[in-house]
């Protein structure tokens, strides 16, 4: 076989992989759209995060379909799904599991690990900000390491592992803001907005009429893992990656590269995870946009969900009503593409 034919075969295989990734995402979005009306950007964001292997924090008012969205995705991807309703009295062991002293068949007693609901592919942490920080922190290791440690024994979580958490932005009574370390572990923070009039009409029609068929499974865990590996190989030019890096640096008020808006409004800038998130998400966004390379536009489009929960605003900015979304928009305006 000549070198040319090998090269041609490699190109064809790569093109098929790209096409498979694209088709999977389209199918997933199509199945989700059969249940969820509207919210295309939220669905696209969740899809990108899943293919990137990241966790998603969904923020929105009650009744907007956050839980339904997560459940639909779990079904469409044929993943093991568990739901944890976070409450103030929820304990870490209620999430992670615990060692129970059980009687053995030989009449003796031994500790046996009883896994908690976190041992699933897709975990819905509903109203995550209602649990105490201690319980919230129980997710830290699981989200970063895909494993939990009980006592001295580590227990790996099933892969792929996703945490999709929801929180209500308006209820402050009896809630505990998520610690920054946990916020940083969320790949995206997506705001679930209120549906438009047409969307609301469609929701009413769809939920009060005859029940429709449940979403079909378009992929499984293995496929998702394969797509995750594939997405990481999408090439990105150095100057494009540098743009994402400069965006993160510009969010740090103490650095010389800081943008003016960061100096005025930001107390702590985005972490390096933000740059990783933007580049990885940009790669998937590029593929979904029909390209095999990352463009500046991909970085810009994923910057908002990747950065908004990683910026800690100053007291003055919060008092003035400045939002992280506005700061991110100003960062995008301030940082030129060509450094």
């Amino acid at each position: 076989m000549t070198q040319t034919s090998v090269s041609a075969d490699g190109r064809a295989a790569a093109a098929q992989d790209i096409e498979r990734l694209r088709r999977t995402v389209e199918a997933l979005e199509r199945e989700v759209a059969r249940v969820i009306v509207g919210q295309e950007l939220v669905i696209r964001g969740v899809t990108i995060a899943l293919i990137a292997g990241g966790h998603v924090l969904l923020e929105g008012l009650p009744g907007l379909g956050k839980t339904l969205l997560v459940r639909t995705i779990a079904r469409a991807l044929h993943l093991q799904y568990s739901r944890i309703q976070f409450t103030p009295d929820l304990m870490p062991a209620d999430i992670l599991g615990t060692n129970l002293l059980l009687e053995t068949s030989h009449g003796g007693r031994a500790f046996q690990f009883q896994p908690g609901p976190i041992f699933a592919n897709l975990v819905l942490a509903d109203e995550i900000n209602r649990a105490t920080p201690k319980t919230q922190s129980a997710l830290l290791e699981a989200m970063q390491e895909q494993a939990v440690t009980i006592g001295t024994v580590g227990h790996p979580l099933p892969l792929p592992f996703f945490v999709l958490a929801t929180q209500n932005p308006i209820e402050l009574e009896g809630t505990y803001p998520l610690p920054e370390a946990e916020l940083d572990r969320f790949f995206f923070k997506l705001n679930v907005g209120f549906p438009t009039r047409a969307e609301l009409t469609a929701i009413v029609d769809r939920t009060t009429g005859p029940r429709s068929d449940p979403p079909a499974a378009v992929a499984d865990g293995a496929n998702v893992m394969e797509l995750q590996e594939l997405a990481r190989e999408i090439p990105i030019a150095t100057h494009v990656a540098d743009y994402a890096v400069r965006l993160v640096l510009a969010s740090h008020p103490e650095l010389p590269e800081a943008a003016e808006t960061a100096r005025r409004n930001v107390r702590f800038g985005a972490s390096p995870r933000a740059a990783q998130t933007m580049i990885l998400a940009s790669k998937i966004h590029a593929v979904l946009a029909g390209r095999v390379n990352v463009a500046f536009d991909d970085v810009r489009r994923v910057a908002l969900p990747a950065l908004r929960h990683r910026l800690i605003l100053s007291y003055e900015a919060e008092a003035k009503g400045t939002t992280p979304d506005r700061v991110v928009a100003e960062l995008l305006s301030a940082v030129p593409e060509q450094g």
């Binding site: 070198q3 040319t4 090998v6 090269s7 490699g10 190109r11 790569a14 093109a15 992989d17 790209i18 190989e233 999408i234 090439p235 990105i236 030019a237 150095t238 100057h239 494009v240 390209r291 095999v292 390379n293 990352v294 463009a295 500046f296 536009d297 060509q338």
Partner: protein, 496 residues
Amino acid sequence: MHVEIAQHLPASALHEEAVELLRVLSRFRWRLGFERTLRFGLRGAIASGLTLIGVSVISWAVGVQNAWWPAALPLLAALALGLARWPSHAQAALAADRRLALEERLGTAVELARRRPGGRFDALQVRDAVARARSTPGGWLTLDRHFRREAWLAAGVVVLAAASLLLARLPAPQPSFVDETGEAAADAAPSVDLTQRELPPGAEDIPLASAQPVPQAKADAGLAARVQQEQSERTALDNLSQALGSVSAGQPAANAIQQGDFGSARSELQNLGDEADQLSDAAKQQLGKALQDAAAASAQADRQLADKERQAAQSLSRATYGEQRQALRGLGDQVQRSGSRSVSADQLARDIGQLQQQSAAQGAGARSQASGAGQQGTTGTGSQAAQQQGPAGGQGSGAAGQQGGPGVGTGTDPNMLGDQPSRLDTAGQSVQVPTKLNGGPGVRPPDGTEDQVGADPAVGGRNVSELVQAQQTGQVAPEQNLVPGEQRYVVRGYFR
């Protein structure tokens, strides 16, 4: 060539795609390089044009021959810089991505082609980039707004530079100094039309120190120009005075200007402005037209005064009372400024006399001697202008023996020392004395102020030519004694 370039790339599965990529990029490189060179050339042309203009102006002013080669240096340097900064493949790729909206395809492809080992999607990406770049239509040059602006600027500068070359055909400006031969003064002196000048009040009584013999060796080079300037300023004020005198309401201001009392003239003009609403439309039109004529006549002599006159004329023709008042007040202010800038009548008369002496000494010495008219050194003339007319000036004098009337004559000044002719030396010569033109004996003013001339505005309001004409025709009022006061006793002595 592209294959050779591609051979420098790492041997990989990308070899085939890299060749195609370089072929595409070479096209963009040439385009970008040409654009960059052109842009540098435009800037160089601007710099060269400005340099050429500067060189031309300096050469013309200094009067040396142009040295054009410095003007070519900026253009050559810019072109050299543009060629030296010929874009690389990576730069061409980035520029093409940006201009052709290729979404960083080419930039990524160039990077992937250089990278070793290649990734899973590298070949696919490079092929995609090449295909997209080939399918993108695009003009050969990107003439954005900035580029077009520079091009227009360069064209304008080049035109100006070409026009500056014509400077070499113009005569070089003359330096303000003259050589010792006094050619400048001699050339300038005839251009002064003294007969058209009006002497300021009191000028006729000025002792003409300049009547002293002037050595011809060296002439004051700036005197002619200065006299001309002084006369121009006075002419401008005279024109304004005549314009104001065209209406009765402006007569006080006209008189004040004629008398040299510019503070009063300002006040009178302000009063005229305050009472502008009292003027009839016909008077306004008449005054406006007169001011317009004065402005046209004075435009060269005193531009600021002419502007104010024009504004006043325009306001009188169509503006409101407030604007008329404002314009006339502005005119009054300008009159005061122009008046304060103009030289005194004494100085003007002195300068004129001096200039006249110089011209006479240089150009008319032989002619004066031949005529034997004894003009040189005489101070008994009614005016210097009359003196300039030579013997003819004496022809206008009336009957001798009459004192107090105006006239032109010759005489001697006993105060003069040296070789000036004495009073007795004039015996046997034709002496013309002031006459009482209206007939009858002259009457000495009862208050004994016959030596004080210029008190009557009517005298000051007439220019020299009019006075001379009046003397010749005997139409001078008896109170207008034009014989200088300190000289009159000489004249009187002939009749005692």
